[in-house]
């Protein structure tokens, strides 16, 4: 029973991270957009669904107690709208500006979340976010939610895989490889990038929403860059940037390792425990190094050669 619950929790979190990593793969792996503020889109999604679906009284301004599906839709719409606004401004500029802008927006959002008590309850966070199937008996409640996450992940994967293999995806990969040549080949680079940026950010918002429902709670710690941005990048690089299957594999793999480091650091002597958080980051960095030494393109690298259909 304990082991089932542990495995279920591991897979659920892995699945939620896989949704985030798929979004980042569309940004960076496919289109070459450097998004360094995943946490911002995660936060928008998580708080949007929390405010809409939590019962009245969950925050000073209240929750709306709406159905979970409404929360998810709003999470995707709002994070997509935020991406559209950032993208409209930044995507015409050189790519490093997008990195700076996304870091900045993510930090601003984190401060808003922390300080606008009337809306977000500040550092106490929003509790009472409903989780689908929570009324079932254990372990069925956990398993049912895991299946829901995996279903969402499967749909996202299939949609992205179809998109990346289509002419649309080919244009994105061309833009990633050489922006000027893509423009000379008739592609409206800014418009295509904006589409990829919005779509990827919507997935990040959805990931945030899934997380809020899973924990039945969202607080500012969950939107820290370490957990919501850095870890997702590691997942994508380890898994294989440019390949959706790589992104998914990387998410589960790195999440399993990340959880395992917690088991390790829990056994440390007490005076080391305070440094455990840093040790875990160090271990993840170390693992990243080891993987990249052996597999430069990640565990499941992008396949460049296309299989041509029969004659």
């Amino acid at each position: 029973m304990g082991l089932t619950l542990y495995a279920t929790a591991l897979l659920t979190m892995g699945g939620i991270y896989a949704v985030l990593t798929l979004g980042l793969n569309l940004h960076w792996g496919v289109t070459g957009l450097f998004n360094a503020g995943i946490a911002g889109f995660f936060a928008v999604g998580a708080y949007a669904t929390a405010l809409l679906t939590a019962p009245p009284g969950a925050t000073p301004s209240g929750g709306l107690g709406l159905p979970v599906a409404t929360g998810w839709a709003a999470a995707m719409l709002l994070s997509g709208a935020l991406a559209w606004a950032i993208g409209k401004i930044c995507l015409r500029l050189r790519s490093d500006y997008l990195a700076m802008a996304t870091i900045g927006i993510a930090e601003i959002l984190r401060l808003i979340v922390k300080n606008e008590l009337w809306l977000t309850n500040g550092s106490r966070g929003i509790a009472g976010v409903p989780r689908p199937f929570e009324q079932l008996a254990q372990p069925w409640a956990e398993l049912a939610f895991l299946l829901l996450v995996l279903a969402v992940l499967a749909i996202a994967y299939l949609l992205l895989e179809t998109a990346v293999r289509s002419p649309w995806g080919r244009v994105m990969r061309a833009i990633r490889d050489d922006e000027a040549a893509a423009a000379a080949a008739g592609k409206d680079v800014a418009a295509f990038r904006l589409q990829a940026f919005v779509l990827g950010s919507m997935l990040m918002g959805l990931g945030g929403a899934l997380s809020a429902h899973y924990f039945k709670y969202i607080g500012p710690e969950a939107t820290q860059p370490l957990l919501a941005t850095f870890l997702v990048w590691v997942m994508l690089i380890v898994g294989g940037s440019g390949r959706n299957a790589g992104a998914v594999a990387g998410a589960f793999l790195v999440w399993a390792l990340w959880s395992a480091t917690e088991l390790l650091t829990n056994r440390l002597p007490p005076d080391w425990l305070t440094r455990a958080a840093y040790l875990r980051v160090f271990l993840i960095g170390f693992i990243l190094q080891v993987v990249l030494q052996r597999h430069a393109g990640g565990v499941l690298p992008e396949r460049t050669a296309v299989r041509r259909p029969g004659p």
């Binding site: 998109a163 002419p167 990969r173 000379a184 259909p309």
Partner: protein, 260 residues
């Protein structure tokens, strides 16, 4: 007398205090292969970038087939039939050679995201038709054996050919070729010239060509336009231009011109 496909009037562009291009008038006749020569720093590349939409002019107008295209971005020029190549080839490195060509034709809505999800049958039919065209271009350029290799792995010469392949896929009216012959051996140079002539004669593509290789210019281009210090110096056939003392002076300095 043929009609001017490209008309440039009073074109100017400065970078800070440097007037890279000033007061340039240029006509490129429909169906011609017009050469653009001049010593280094004459402003040829700036003029190219202005026409190709990579730079916005400080003054002047550019017309393509009578339509004012001044300041339009490259992708809008592409739709009007104007494409360029790059001096240093810029293939899409991680796309295969075939994909580098497949990506060029925009189609009619086939590049939309919703088409990827909702019109898969239509996309598959169009891809099959496109593949046949790509295979033909690859055969013409002798690139068939490397069709499924990442373009980043091609040799320098093959990258030049691929650059020309993208031009072929674009079905352009006017092609700006930026030193297609730079750093290319004689055999490949002759091959490239052959492809350009064929595109010009069989498909009616007009070319404006920057080139330092005078043999290539002499073989392909009529007329030849000479630029120096940001201005058009003269234009005429290669023989006329070669005999012009002003051209010799621009290339070699005043003394040499007197000696000649």
């Amino acid at each position: 007398m043929s009609v001017a496909l490209l008309e440039v009037r009073g074109l100017a562009r400065s970078f800070g205090g440097l007037r890279a291009v000033q007061d340039v008038d240029l006509d490129v006749a429909e169906g011609s292969i017009t050469g653009l020569i001049g010593p280094n720093g004459a402003g040829k590349s700036t003029l190219f970038n202005l026409i190709a939409g990579a730079l916005v002019p400080s003054a002047g107008r550019i017309r393509l087939a009578g339509e004012d295209i001044t300041g339009l971005p490259p992708h809008a020029l592409f739709r009007r039939g104007l494409v360029r190549t790059f001096q240093i080839p810029r293939p899409f490195q991680r796309l295969t050679v075939a994909e580098n060509l497949l990506v060029v034709p925009p189609g009619e809505g086939e590049e939309r995201l919703l088409a990827a999800w909702l019109a898969r049958g239509r996309l598959a039919r169009r891809e099959a038709a496109l593949r046949r065209r790509v295979d033909e271009v690859l055969r013409t350029l002798s690139l068939t054996p490397v069709a499924d290799q990442p373009a980043g792995e091609l040799s320098g010469g093959q990258k030049k050919l691929l650059e020309l392949g993208r031009v072929m896929m674009a079905e352009a009216r006017l092609v700006l070729l930026d030193e297609i012959g730079a750093g290319v051996n004689r055999t490949l140079l002759a091959e490239l010239a052959g492809h350009i002539e064929r595109l010009n004669r069989a498909h009616g593509v007009t070319f404006l060509v920057i080139e330092h290789d005078m043999d290539l210019i002499a073989r392909l281009c009529d007329p030849v336009v000479v630029m120096a210090e940001g201005r058009i110096l003269t234009q005429g056939t290669m023989a006329e231009v070669r005999a012009d003392p002003r051209v010799i002076e621009a290339y070699l300095g005043a003394k040499a011109a007197h000696a000649a």
